[in-house]
Symmetry: C2
Amino acid sequence: MNPERFSINQMTVRQLSLPDLVSHCVRLGIRGVGLWREPVREYGLEAAARLVREAGLEVTSLCRGGFFTSDDRLASHRAAVDEAAALGTDTLVLVSGGLTPAYPDLPAARARIAEAIGELAPYAGERGVRLAVEPLHPMYAADRCAVSTLDQALDIAERFPAEQVGVVVDTYHLWWDDRAPAAVERAAASGRVHSFQLADWTTPLPAGVLNGRGQLGDGVIDLRAWADLLERVGHTGPVEVELFNDGLWARDGAEVLEETLERFLAV
Amino acid sequence: MNPERFSINQMTVRQLSLPDLVSHCVRLGIRGVGLWREPVREYGLEAAARLVREAGLEVTSLCRGGFFTSDDRLASHRAAVDEAAALGTDTLVLVSGGLTPAYPDLPAARARIAEAIGELAPYAGERGVRLAVEPLHPMYAADRCAVSTLDQALDIAERFPAEQVGVVVDTYHLWWDDRAPAAVERAAASGRVHSFQLADWTTPLPAGVLNGRGQLGDGVIDLRAWADLLERVGHTGPVEVELFNDGLWARDGAEVLEETLERFLAV
């Protein structure tokens, strides 16, 4: 793929400090970076914004708002929007939350998620931040995200203007779904592909199934087919690589960053 | 639920020998049992058939045929049908297989699965055995079963007469899918709900995600809603409880069997 479209999600190389990540990106000619709220807050929001701006990097997304089923405080969700705006990114990724005592089944959780996004969307729109609803793999439906398919995410997003609410297309979460390609077309038709992320699927899955996302090319997903699909529907924006992987985190961060860029180019 | 509909899948209490399983079933008034090929073969097919028949048990299913993407020998798939017929069950559960070097992506794997079922179906029909295509949770799409949704299973099954090919409805695999209830109605409309299995969803998932199926009531699935749905569409047959669970396997088998029956009655 075109190196100009490559964006490294901070979590992929979380062993790197933010300044180290930024300087390695500059050295390697990487132009985009997806940031996470916790390390940004740790470094300081304004300082982080200045660091990436002065390095000429584009913040392609901020991860993440959401968990609406366990946090009903609108103010805390608005804070995530404010942080995205401060970092100069137009995209806030939402991981919507799973089942909780207050929302103990999927219909209740999904209704709560739609309601919470409705409360937040106009605020985000006013600040130039698009909410990107990320469907997570069905194996996370209970404990992380009751939105499991791209169609479900679109059913929520389409209630709002596209400049307020769209979706994340992440190969790791969607690769198994034979309806996902049609849903990608549906999303693109109304301009709602707010983020496109790559990760590969490797087995066996680790305990807790959180930190086993495969390096590009190590797994079974036809990443080229996904890239072609997204290009075909007109998505020409940044492509983030977001890997949660204990093996990658145990290695030298700069080496992992270089490897990830190489793998991206080879897709 | 009605105790007369309860069937214990052998895997739930795999620590019990077949004679012990049968005698505990008789003692507890359990009328149905789902068997697995490996322990049956170990005990002897004819001896196992005689044992369950003389105890008055109904064999509600045999697990499992399939893995069509790694085994292209029709004879070995026919052997599974023969074993089902010998045990007197009308239902052979199929776990269809994941990605392999010969079928390295989902479209290829799914095409192979449909083709293999087409080869096997008439043979099964002649022997009074219904093939039951089991959609497995999408987290198994790569390594166990490329058929991930009930609609996908029905897309295959509906190419054949219902007395030859139907589907398995297993709450563990389908609970997350908002389209599953409509698919259950679709399956029932053509008489293809060949097996209904219960297991609960608990987190965190164990490494490998195979042996973490929750005891009924321990997880988040609204099992009552599923039972109601199946009753509403006219499924009045046996309901199998099939749990793969390291914790349950470490306990006394008879105790687990009694607990499982109690939990079933409480649904």
